[in-house]
């Protein structure tokens, strides 16, 4: 980890000034043998993916006896509000941030302020650059989108007509996933992309866009959706139009509804991209760091494809999901 001299001096100045004023009592609870407080950030309180993250983090907090504060903007995915949240939490000075940015670029200055205040940052899910972080825990969006597309296209014999439903175009995850999709398409000359339209990562807009596309394309062999929430909406739209079963739908996330749909044979496959595991390991990493243990700079989680063959073995809800073993994952990474 490199700390530029300017940042370092700024950091020490802020710290000493604060200490002098007595407004920032330094309370590294672990050093004092108390219960550490960790601010755990999510992007919103509306999407089940972030609920799974929260449950993962809460499991770790319970095991490790940590005081976990879940921090989310009131307006889902609102950049300006998350900036204010970070600033407010710098004032409260918890022992660590387990952080996911709603925009990986726009939150950089705020997290730099947290760096200056000396709060350790564990970055999960969306990778940030230009900040000091203890570690990044997540997986490569472009890679797993590529993997599931390859899996899908192979199952189609390498040819067919495909519709791509994108997420929120401005989101980095959507851009990376689109890259992965495009990479896979390039490798399969028999695959024809009929259309690529955004579904805002949400079920209803995705279903409506797809219903309109169904009118345009009477024959669609497969749909690649940038997340499961949209994929399930598309599956519903296909069945409502009496076209269920003819089109293979794949998504990403492994949310309970999608797993259910795969078990019922309505959906083809999804990628298990576990927010639950990322968050669990994020809190683990924070505590290990506070105890002075060495944490690797990057922890990339393995992803696996869920389809009809293994769907019965997958835990349906984040509550039931077993927690990952730190040694196993970090050993692998």
């Amino acid at each position: 980890m490199k700390i530029s001299r300017r940042q370092f001096t700024a950091g020490t100045m802020v710290a000493s000034a604060a200490a002098a004023l007595g407004t920032f009592p330094f309370r590294s609870a672990i050093a004092q043998g108390g219960k550490p407080t960790i601010a755990f950030f999510v992007k919103n309180v509306t999407n089940p993916f972030w609920k799974a993250c929260r449950i993962g983090a809460e499991k770790a907090a319970k095991e490790l006896d940590v005081n976990l504060e879940v921090v989310a903007p009131t307006k889902p995915d609102n950049i300006e509000e998350q900036t204010r949240l970070v600033e407010d939490w710098i004032v409260k000075k918890p022992d660590a941030f387990v952080f996911v940015p709603v925009d990986y670029k726009a939150l950089v200055p705020s997290i730099q302020k947290a760096n200056e205040a000396g709060i350790p940052i564990i970055n999960y899910n969306n990778k940030m650059t230009g900040i000091e972080k203890v570690t990044f825990i997540g997986s490569d969006d472009a890679l797993f989108e590529y993997e599931i597309c390859k899996y899908l296209f192979n199952s189609m014999g390498g040819k067919g007509k495909v519709v791509h439903i994108d997420g929120v175009p401005a989101a980095i995850t959507a851009q990376m996933r689109k890259q992965g999709f495009e990479r896979a398409v390039k490798e399969f000359p028999g695959i024809e992309v009929l259309a690529s339209q955004p579904g805002q990562y949400r079920r209803l807009p995705a279903a409506q866009v797809f219903e309109n596309l169904m009118q345009r394309f009477p024959e669609i062999d497969a749909v690649v959706s940038a997340n499961d929430d949209m994929a399930v909406g598309i599956v519903e739209a296909l069945h409502a139009a009496g076209r269920g079963g003819q089109t293979k739908v794949v998504g990403i996330d492994g949310i309970p509804d999608a797993i259910q749909a795969i078990a019922e044979g309505k959906m083809f496959a999804t990628v298990d991209f576990s927010g639950h595991d990322q968050a669990y390991l994020g809190v683990q990493a924070a505590v290990r760091h506070l105890k002075g243990e060495k944490v690797p700079q990057e922890i990339l989680l393995p992803v696996f494809i869920i389809d009809k063959s293994n769907v019965d073995k997958v835990a349906r809800t984040p509550e039931e999901r077993p927690v990952p073993s730190w040694d196993k994952v970090v050993g692998k990474a």
């Binding site: 309180v45 999407n47 609920k51 929260r54 339209q197 955004p198 209803l204 309109n212 519903e236």
Partner: protein, 336 residues
């Protein structure tokens, strides 16, 4: 006193189905022409457009939007606004889905409608009795309804509604989708309410000339509470149709429903100054909106342009009403 002239907008035009004032006739005709133009242009541009299945698809999209904006229309007719409709839709959807999947369908429907009604009653009471500006009362309610939904759901999605319930959103009677039938029935009921009952006449009078309405001894406050309650109720009704269609409910269902609902009301020719317009126009507005979105998807127009195109269309429609309709109105002497 010049002010008296000023206070009247289009005068006390009696709401009648036919015998519309010339400027209103322009609004009605222009909407039908716009509808025709869109249909003709789209049929030329896209071979998939003028198919039975696509047109059914369009009205199916228009139906929940209409239900949401129909109640809002009544509010707008009184020169008010209801910003909470999307949030109330989200809250009602969550309550209904939770109880219905829990095996209490009747209770679920009642709870959703009750929640919508309650939110509307609070809005109406604040506006009518506490004189809170409608914009603020309903903006506050937007936050409250969202908050209650967040607290209730804790980030969960409820999935898998029984197929008997799903009929109202995804079913067909013959070739006609059930939501479209619901839309037609609602349209008739609200049209009769607005044009054939004292309550309806009161709604128009309050928007057209509030002072006169009060002086004539009309129970203005009760009428106001009524329209906001109807708006909340219709939002929760729309919620039932939406969850029946998507087979799932989460708190974000109502997000981004507000602006299209307001747009449908305006495209339908209801004036935000109050007193002029009606639910029939809103039905046309909702269909125009659904047609435009369908058209943009069929033509593959990028989403970045979609909100701008929508904004532009709203501006053009109200602009022509104001310029052309206003001129016709003045020529015929309706606005003195």
């Amino acid at each position: 006193m010049t002010v008296q002239v000023v206070g009247q907008r289009t005068g006390m035009v009696k709401p009648e189905l036919l015998g519309l004032s010339p400027d209103r006739l322009f609004v009605v005709v222009s909407r039908l022409v716009a509808l025709l133009l869109i249909v003709v242009t789209m049929s030329i541009l896209s071979p998939y457009f003028l198919t039975w299945s696509n047109l059914i698809n369009v009205v199916r999209h228009a139906a929940p939007l209409f239900l949401l904006s129909a109640g809002l229309t009544l509010v707008v007719l009184t020169a008010g606004i209801d910003l909470s409709v999307g949030a109330v839709l989200g809250l009602s959807a969550c309550l209904a889905a939770s109880l219905i999947t829990g095996g209490h369908p009747a209770l679920g429907i009642l709870a959703a409608l009750g929640a919508g009604l309650a939110c509307g009653l609070v809005n109406g009471t604040l506006v009518a009795y506490a004189s809170v500006p409608p914009f603020i009362a309903t903006y506050g309610m937007l936050w409250i309804a969202n908050g209650l939904a967040y607290i209730f759901m804790q980030g969960e999605v409820i999935y898998g509604l029984p197929s008997e319930f799903r009929v109202i959103g995804a079913g067909f009677i013959g070739p006609i989708p059930v939501p479209v039938l619901i839309m037609i029935a609602t349209l008739i009921a609200l049209h009769v309410l607005a044009h054939k009952t004292p309550i309806g006449r009161g709604i128009y009078a309050i928007g057209g000339n509030p002072v006169a309405a009060r002086l004539s001894g009309m129970p203005v406050q009760r009428r106001l509470v009524f329209v906001y309650a109807m708006s909340g109720l219709m939002a929760s009704f729309a919620a039932l149709v939406v969850i029946a269609r998507t087979n799932a409910a989460d708190v974000s269902l109502g997000e981004e429903q507000l602006l299209p609902a307001i747009a449908a009301v305006c495209l339908g020719g209801t004036s935000l100054f109050g007193g002029v317009g009606g639910v029939a126009g809103t039905a046309v507005g909702a269909i125009i909106l659904a047609l435009i979105l369908n058209g943009m998807n069929l033509l593959g127009i990028g989403t970045f342009w979609q909100s701008g195109a929508l904004g532009f269309i709203i501006l053009v429609s109200v602009f022509t009403d104001q310029i052309v309709g206003g001129r016709i109105g003045r020529m015929s002497g309706v606005t003195q």
